[in-house]
Symmetry: D2
């Protein structure tokens, strides 16, 4: 069972904006990429091709601490901090070397998707078997 | 029947990159937005909710003529230049006032999408009834 | 002086993801677009070409309430909820008709940008003259 | 001197659209990422922090051959096919295993950027010393 993952990512040109730094929505994308990398490391995928289950975000918070620049390497340490019957909460810390770039939280919920839309549903057994809350 | 459309768009902050100008992939997105606006103006949608038909691009060409900046208004004049049984070809001219920002072409093909993937198929009757090639 | 703005936006194809809904980072982009539209309505720009001042985000929170789909129109009601010497806090409510899509907050800080990076600095007089906190 | 590079990239969730495949503008972004990776492999950067030189695209062509899906690995083989005094032309072939996903060309031009805009200028010596046209 996995509770955390360290995801490393090179900043690409298209991630930047006219202020010369990474646009804030890319910090959020790096966090999502880290979450999905944690799932892969646990032997899971967030979007199984043969399943109606999806894991949309229901809340995010991000505090931006320092600017991040083109071709820098950022590391996101993502940790599972809570799991309920239907939701998983993650904490994120993004760093460039010893500098904290951003911290954040994201809560994703399990939904069943069909033509009528999305309905919250219980996390499947394989997710419960492979992801665990980090002991505090 | 419609053969062309003039789509107007304000440049947003997130469309820019560290060079201070609109990133080239956003020029391509403006062209796709204009194509979809042409379809709406013709009473169509590129992604009907109750249909397996989709219209992915099979080729694009873009020539970039002048930089485009934050909060400028760009207009894309999109024209249907060819229709075959399964494909539609568009020409695009993006301008800011009298300045040409970019010109391009895009060819989209009609596909039927199911679990096995995408298969090219004939354009449906309502598309043929509402879009027409611009007389030259 | 302006304290709020209602920004309307059509969901574009590229805003969606494989779950068939608007990707969560686009909700954040819509909020930024609304903020900049508020500034324009107040006679301001967030990125004056002849100034070293920029307004990066230092924190965001978003709660996602309902999925948003291609070609729907979303409205973001953005309100200035606090101003300090160097920072502005906004509240956002995104709706599609009577349905709340998301709520959120964003805090932006005024920085002076030069080759050495970004340094927090006081909000300029024209911003103080044209934006005001919404009376509660 | 380097003439080509093989860039490998995992497809991220945010790269996909409601058709369930990678959005075409992301194919263009992968090509730009590969170009920049070629520059890094040659000991160069496309955006030196202490230089007014930038390398915007002046033309692109892309043919899309097969859909690409979430969590697949795509490889872009980028090759320098021509260099003039001010411009570099690249050819790109994107593959997933033995399947060709897309082929394309991109031409970038060297510009000097200042407050008055962008002016085309000669490629600097270090770029000429480290990148070379692939012998045919």
């Amino acid at each position: 069972m996995l509770s955390s993952y360290r995801y490393s990512r090179l900043v690409q040109f298209a991630d930047t904006d006219l202020a010369g730094v990474v646009h804030f929505t890319w910090i959020a994308k790096y966090m999502e990429e880290a979450e999905h990398a944690l799932w892969r490391a646990a032997g899971l995928t967030i979007a199984p091709a043969d399943s109606p289950l999806r894991y949309p975000r229901v809340s995010i918070t991000i505090d931006f601490k320092a600017p991040l620049y083109f071709e820098e390497t950022v590391e996101d340490h993502v940790t599972v901090t809570a799991m309920s019957r239907r939701a998983i909460r993650y904490a994120h810390t993004l760093t460039r070397g010893d500098t904290i770039i951003a911290t954040g939280t994201m809560t994703a919920v399990c939904v069943k998707q069909d033509v009528s839309g999305m309905q919250a549903t219980d996390l499947p057994d394989d997710v419960r078997a492979k992801l665990a809350v980090m002991p505090s």
